[in-house]
Symmetry: C2
Subunit: 213 residues, 2 copies
Amino acid sequence: MEPSHSTKQTSDTAILIDEPSRSTRGKSAAPVAIAAKTKGGSYQKGGWGRGIAIFDLILRVAALVAALAATTTMGTTDQTLPFFTQFFQFQASYDDLPAFSYFVIANAIASGYLVLSLPFSIVCIVRPHATGARLLLLIFDTMLVAFTTAAAAAAAAIVYLAHNGNQNTNWLAICQQFNDFCQKVSGAVVASFIAAVIFIVLVVLSAIALRRR
Amino acid sequence: MEPSHSTKQTSDTAILIDEPSRSTRGKSAAPVAIAAKTKGGSYQKGGWGRGIAIFDLILRVAALVAALAATTTMGTTDQTLPFFTQFFQFQASYDDLPAFSYFVIANAIASGYLVLSLPFSIVCIVRPHATGARLLLLIFDTMLVAFTTAAAAAAAAIVYLAHNGNQNTNWLAICQQFNDFCQKVSGAVVASFIAAVIFIVLVVLSAIALRRR
């Protein structure tokens, strides 16, 4: 029994020695990382921020795709009915309704902003501690949440009316005639809502990065 | 001339002595504030965060007033025309149009959220370094930016249609008959947009506080 007892004691001692050495290393690492940026400390902190920044860039590209899809779908959709009277042809396009025109403009502006914001997002990848660029992105992202949501909601209200009409106001549904047009417009509205949700996620990501730096 | 020269020299010396003592005090205060929270350092830092937190609370109350005004104006407005046929009376109220119903629900939810968020805002005044509460408020505020903007934009699209009508879709303007109803609804939409703008300012304020802590 003697040898086994001795090995147990050794392993206990080894753990006892290991524990405090690890804890003191952890304690000393924190101030050193702030003061002199040692390899271990700054790499771990930078990696966290860099992960968020790369995810930010990917989401920005996804939002750009969604906003561009919304703009082009709404902007290029028009439908001409196969019958016409002596005086005019029945045609529907986005500029018949002001809400759809605003939708195209707002999503085009959102696409332009997203392209311009890509370099700032890359700056945040290269320098995860650059809080100025991140705060700037957060402020503009918040404004574009409102902008794209407003466009999508206004268009959605009109599309709903076009689909269902309204008896109380005597507004008739036009989607029975312009079915193809209505379906494409609905798709554009969904794409714009996706872009708005991605903007919300971008704002939350930036806030987490600002807190964790 | 002798006494005046001596006094000038004295004052110069006094400044020279004063300057370095002030700068060293400033330099020593920064690390001490982090390590042990001396009175001067933590008071200044806490004061900055506390100022933002108090402004946050005031804005929250203002947004609550705007959201409540939007809800009650839209919810209580109805207009009955002074003439009627044998079968029905001409009446307009918010539940005639789905966009207005959503508007009332969304602004009621926003009012409820604002009341619930007041204690968290007060926590941020008492403890300016509590970043958890601030991050939580920022995330929910961002969602409510989208929520209230969507409600306001959808209602605005319908009100615009009610005011002007649309020739291309044969939707006639109803505000010539229901003038009083349309004006009150327009007021509610403006109040909701004000609430949305205040939410954007709240998000930006929280982000600045997270960065400056």
